[in-house]
């Protein structure tokens, strides 16, 4: 689960990670009031989950409270387009107003899982404020890494080593080391999957501070953090994806024209891939899961049909525990209950596949049956062209 910068900063502050003073505002008036309380120069930052906000015009500096109000007026309600939002952009509902920092140096700090080792890794770099992926690609030696041994956790000497590696001196070394340790404590305490401070700054006053904060939480661990569930912002999610999650379907909207419904994540990805090989683009990823039955199939249909860019539908189910006849029942039922105007290709394999094929044939409804993956993909792509 992703959370907003202001939520991340408030969380981090509670773990004694130094962040600039600030507050969240939903209206320009609120922003002006917060700016007045902070005094002096402030930064107004649009709160959306996507990165690249500055370039898109979502981050502005104001010299005084009145100006802060004006800028907040421009930002709140704007449709912010960044390289991560896609061309449709994301509507800004809220801004974070914080005291401007006098930045001497921009650094990078991040914690995530090193999958190869199965351990957490803390990364730091003097190259802050830029895309860390680019640093990693072009000059990986500029990224310092400390692996956390699960038995003992991140040790103070490791935090110190990173702080020295960042080229810091005097009290800034101690400050940075304690910030790193506190960030690690937060990471573990709230079950993060990513915690990234980019940039971590050294101010002209010699203070170390988290100027930005990006925190992703481990979805699998949310059951033990009921308090953090409140941080979810469904406005940041695709409407159909929220709808699908209500039915416990795993749906991700994509940009193509072939709607697909598959059981299992791997097979769902492979089905998307074969649609592309057949010459079209998948409209979505939809995994109906291991327990697919008539009802889940009908709900899946409903989701696919709500996407206007879908020109044809491919259902690909490999029945294991899931019985294909149950799936066929769902397909027939959905076809009767819902208005399905686009062509549907069905490919069922595995448990009771033959029986399911007969049921579809005898239903008198218009289905094309795919024999194998390739045939099904080719049929659905051809059908989509005819219906478009």
């Amino acid at each position: 689960m992703k959370i907003h910068e202001y939520q991340a900063k408030e969380l981090l502050r509670s773990f004694q990670v130094a962040v600039p003073r600030g507050g969240a505002a939903r209206t320009p008036e609120e922003a002006e009031r917060i700016a007045a309380e902070l005094g002096g120069r402030v930064v107004i930052k649009a709160q959306i989950h996507a990165g690249g906000r500055g370039k898109g015009g979502g981050i502005k500096v104001a010299e005084n409270a009145q100006e802060a109000g004006q800028m907040a007026r421009q930002i709140i309600g704007m449709n912010l387009v960044t390289h991560q939002t896609g061309p449709e952009g994301q509507k800004v509902k809220l801004v974070w107003v914080e005291a401007a920092s006098e930045v001497a140096r921009e650094l990078y700090l991040g914690i995530t899982l090193d999958r190869a080792q199965g351990k957490l890794v803390v990364m730091a770099s003097q190259e802050g404020g830029v895309e860390i992926e680019e640093v990693a690609a072009h000059s990986p030696e500029k990224i310092l890494r400390e692996t956390v041994e699960p038995d003992v956790g991140l040790q103070p000497f490791q935090a110190m080593r990173l702080a020295f590696g960042l080229g810091l001196e005097d009290k800034a070394v101690r400050q940075a080391a304690s910030l790193i340790l506190n960030l690690y404590k937060a990471y573990v305490a709230i079950d993060c999957s990513l915690a990234e401070i980019n940039p971590l700054v050294l101010t002209h006053q010699g203070e170390i501070m988290a100027l930005d904060a990006k925190i992703n939480l481990d979805d699998n661990a949310l059951f033990r953090h009921a308090d953090l569930l409140a941080l979810r912002d469904t406005d940041e999610e695709e409407e159909l994806e929220i709808e699908a999650s209500k039915y416990r379907l795993n749906y991700i909207k994509l940009n193509g024209t072939i709607g697909c419904m598959v059981n299992g994540a791997g097979l769902a990805m492979a089905t998307m891939d074969i649609i592309k090989l057949a010459g079209a683009e998948p409209a979505n990823f939809l995994d109906v899961g291991g327990g697919a039955n008539a009802e889940t199939v009908e709900n899946g249909f409903r989701i696919l049909l709500s996407d206007p860019s879908v020109k044809a539908i491919l259902i690909n189910i490999f029945g294991g525990i899931v019985r294909c006849d149950r799936v066929a029942e769902g397909v027939i039922q959905a076809r009767k209950n819902l208005e399905v105007k686009v062509p549907v290709v069905v490919r069922l394999a595995g448990t009771n596949a033959e029986l399911a094929g007969q049921m579809l044939e005898q239903s008198g409804l218009n289905f094309a049956v795919g024999k194998g993956l390739r045939d099904a993909a080719e049929k659905v792509v051809t059908a989509s062209r005819q219906s478009a």
Partner: protein, 289 residues
């Protein structure tokens, strides 16, 4: 021969009294797996379809001589179950449970490191040595005994590949579903090493997906040390970056772990890479001819 399990493997079911556990225990028994006991705390002394239930894994091992266990407990308790199985000295633990927190698996992995217990999964379909034994949730009837090993991060995509093999009369020695999570007990590399030692496996099918670098690590090993044919497929060419495609481990992060990158690494290692998931069976047949 086969790897990991055969007709003699005595298996415990942790979470036998649950809905999933009891259903799949029945399915496994029907396939021929020697299910010798179940474990559910506070239900020791009961029986489920003739299978005795014990309070702890230790009790179950003492009474039955089991060497393996399969786990069907809710994700919040699964890490504890894995560690309990390892503590009791089991050789093989297959964890089916999906949705275990990453932090729990970091601890599990650390715990297992110095021990001899092999973990398969979590979030996997399990292991099957066709005609001998099944420790998993896969449909047994699509498999055939034979000489091709299968290793896969996914469930139904494995069934798809196995279906394509069996359809052509190509049987399997053992199929290992290693799981779709970021931290799993057995990686492609470990599984390849198992098949390398197995004289009755003539070729291996490796089905990967986007995310991580486990496929690349296995490829580097195959290039140097494995000379039997390997046929590979990577799912997720069309997956957008930054989105988790169902499996917690299937995510392209920071431009790393893309399908194209993995396919390139596989090809470089001399692995026969399938461009399409529909050609896995054909490519294996080619490799064997």
């Amino acid at each position: 021969m086969s790897v990991l399990i055969d007709e003699n493997t005595k298996v415990l079911v942790q979470g036998l009294t649950g809905r999933e556990g009891s259903f799949h225990a029945q399915q496994m028994k029907e396939y021929g797996t020697r299910i010798v006991g179940g474990v559910t705390p506070l239900k020791g002394g009961q029986e489920v379809d003739g299978v005795p239930v014990f309070n702890t894994v230790r009790d179950a091992v003492a009474a039955t001589g089991a060497s393996a266990s399969i786990i069907f407990v809710p994700p919040a308790f699964a890490a504890d179950s894995i560690i309990e199985a390892a503590d009791a000295g089991l050789e093989l633990v297959v964890c089916i449970s999906e949705g275990i927190p990453v932090a729990d698996m970091v601890k599990v992995r650390q715990y297992l490191q110095p021990r001899s217990t092999r973990l398969i999964g979590p979030n996997c379909p399990g292991v099957i040595s066709p005609g001998k034994s099944k420790m998993g949730i896969m449909p047994g009837f699509i498999h055939r005994p034979g000489r091709v090993g299968v290793i896969s991060r996914s469930g139904t995509l494995t069934y798809e590949a196995v279906g394509q093999l069996s359809e052509r009369g190509i049987g399997q020695s053992t199929c290992i579903g290693i799981g779709g999570d970021p931290i799993i007990g057995t990686q492609f590399l470990d599984a390849i090493k198992l098949f390398k030692k197995d004289q009755d496996t003539d070729a291996v099918v490796m089905i990967g997906e986007i995310g991580g670098s486990a496929e690349e690590e296995a490829a580097a090993y195959i290039r140097r040390f494995y000379d039997k044919p390997v046929i590979g497929f990577i799912a997720g060419r069309t997956a957008p970056p930054g989105r988790r495609m169902g499996h917690a481990g299937a995510i392209i992060a920071g431009g790393k772990g893309t399908a194209d990158e993995k396919m390139k690494a596989l090809k470089k290692a001399g692995i026969r890479v399938c461009e399409s998931p529909a050609e896995i069976g054909e490519r294996v047949a080619e490799a064997l001819s």
